[in-house]
Symmetry: C2
Subunit: 325 residues, 2 copies
Amino acid sequence: MACGEFDVIARYFDRYKHSRRDVQLGIGDDCALLTVAEKQVLAISTDTLVEGTHFLPTIDPADLAYKALAVNVSDLAAMGADPAWLSLALTLPKVDEPWLAAFSDSLFEQLNYYGMQLIGGDTTRGSLSLTLTVHGLVPAGRALTRSGARVGDWIYVSGTLGDSAAGLALLQDRLTVTDDDDRRALLARHLRPQPRVLHGQALRDLANAAIDISDGLISDLGHILKASACGARIDLDAIPYSDAMQRQVTPEQALKWALTGGEDYELCFTVPEINRGALDVALHHAGAPFTCIGQLAPQSEGIQYLRGNRPVELGWQGFDHFMDQ
Amino acid sequence: MACGEFDVIARYFDRYKHSRRDVQLGIGDDCALLTVAEKQVLAISTDTLVEGTHFLPTIDPADLAYKALAVNVSDLAAMGADPAWLSLALTLPKVDEPWLAAFSDSLFEQLNYYGMQLIGGDTTRGSLSLTLTVHGLVPAGRALTRSGARVGDWIYVSGTLGDSAAGLALLQDRLTVTDDDDRRALLARHLRPQPRVLHGQALRDLANAAIDISDGLISDLGHILKASACGARIDLDAIPYSDAMQRQVTPEQALKWALTGGEDYELCFTVPEINRGALDVALHHAGAPFTCIGQLAPQSEGIQYLRGNRPVELGWQGFDHFMDQ
């Protein structure tokens, strides 16, 4: 192979020397050096994506770069943080220059969109996988967590649910959609999820708790309930679906994907009654709908699912990479 | 498999809830939340270790955890930073509980040694690999970089060189050592390298540039020379070897491993003449020897190797994971 490790890094990932003022030293030394302004708290999250486990071997490198960053930025959104810096560890079976060009073009486009800077990482040889560590900033004392929810809070979700699972089903030929627009819309929701950064920031002073929906609503709301010692009543009739989903999928399948499908990267958040009016104003310009889907209840009640105020039973769970599926 | 992803994380990596005061929120939310004191700069470094590329499949999990952290902390040492937080992304082919127990015991022992806290990460299924992102703190304006070296600076290294390559050769049956103590000493230098954190901190106000020796002295000194636009004269007779190396390896092989073997995780640093006296005092208690091996020269001279003040020719280079070897 003619191209050494340092050449690869230099050529594809060291293209933009500087953009953020808080980056004293970026790529090219033993460490990056960063400054954090007074009264700002640092939020850090790490995600690994492995070929075959998190994405299909056929994925377009531009989609992969997009999704890897979006998934990670979604964790910052769930804390109400401003995205700032990225460390990228990229393991590749070989140096494939067209692949690297497409991947890095897409990555830098997205970094630019979020005002983020790539500050370092590592490039190694092995089966294709990526580990991203994102760093964001949030004013001290104003970060959203999973543990602040209170009984009586209203439960909201941003956007629509289940579309990403439908998009994955399309890619895996488990779902057939003949309408081109609907097919494209569902695929886009799987391949190009939109982290709700503006929602998260708008929620800093309004929501008691927030999480991003990566493993399915039930599983992720469950983390809030556990951390906050609450139960919940979910109005199944209120779950928001996209137009494409409503047109192309049976109501039962749509509900299952919405509750357990995962990878929607919408936010689930809880808001006290007193903040509901302010919420409508604050989220009005955030660029995606938001829907009240239920209310927090005492922990002893667990999760109750309702239709027209009558309890119904569901047997599904969120997915888990290490569980047999 | 009976053990889900979240159980694994909870059981082995969420054992110590809190230790550092600057960790507002550790493992268990969408992000960790950290505070950075005024006048401190954040140093961040990422390293990936892949089975088969960076470690042998037979490696003991305790050694792997030790080395993964040591390698990464070595980058903080090279900046003069205090180690603070770790994000760990662990990709495993299966949930092997004895392996996880040994790995995490060793990891927490080392984290405790450095006063570091595990703040988050990810656990995924795939071929065995680890990505660590370490965060350290360094007083503003006092970090060591690769680019501060000046012509006339004296070139130093900590400890002894080449032992790690000898240890690897032992593991791969390319070297035979019958003396048990020497064998153990060389193996330990490969399996349990000691990042020079105290050296790095002591050098903050004394060295003009520093780097850790991960790819071999020639390669890593080369990064300083390139970043600082200097050349160098290296006195091959001054290269420091361990007693075990001197007893068990031919001088020619010892020199080759010292210059190009890699993975010693010693520091290479450059010091102006005026600071040499202070250096002796500052490093006296740092726990490892340090040796002057040459002097920086004008860039036009490149790297010159000397024996008894007479130039000699060498044909070797540092290694590169993506180059044919």
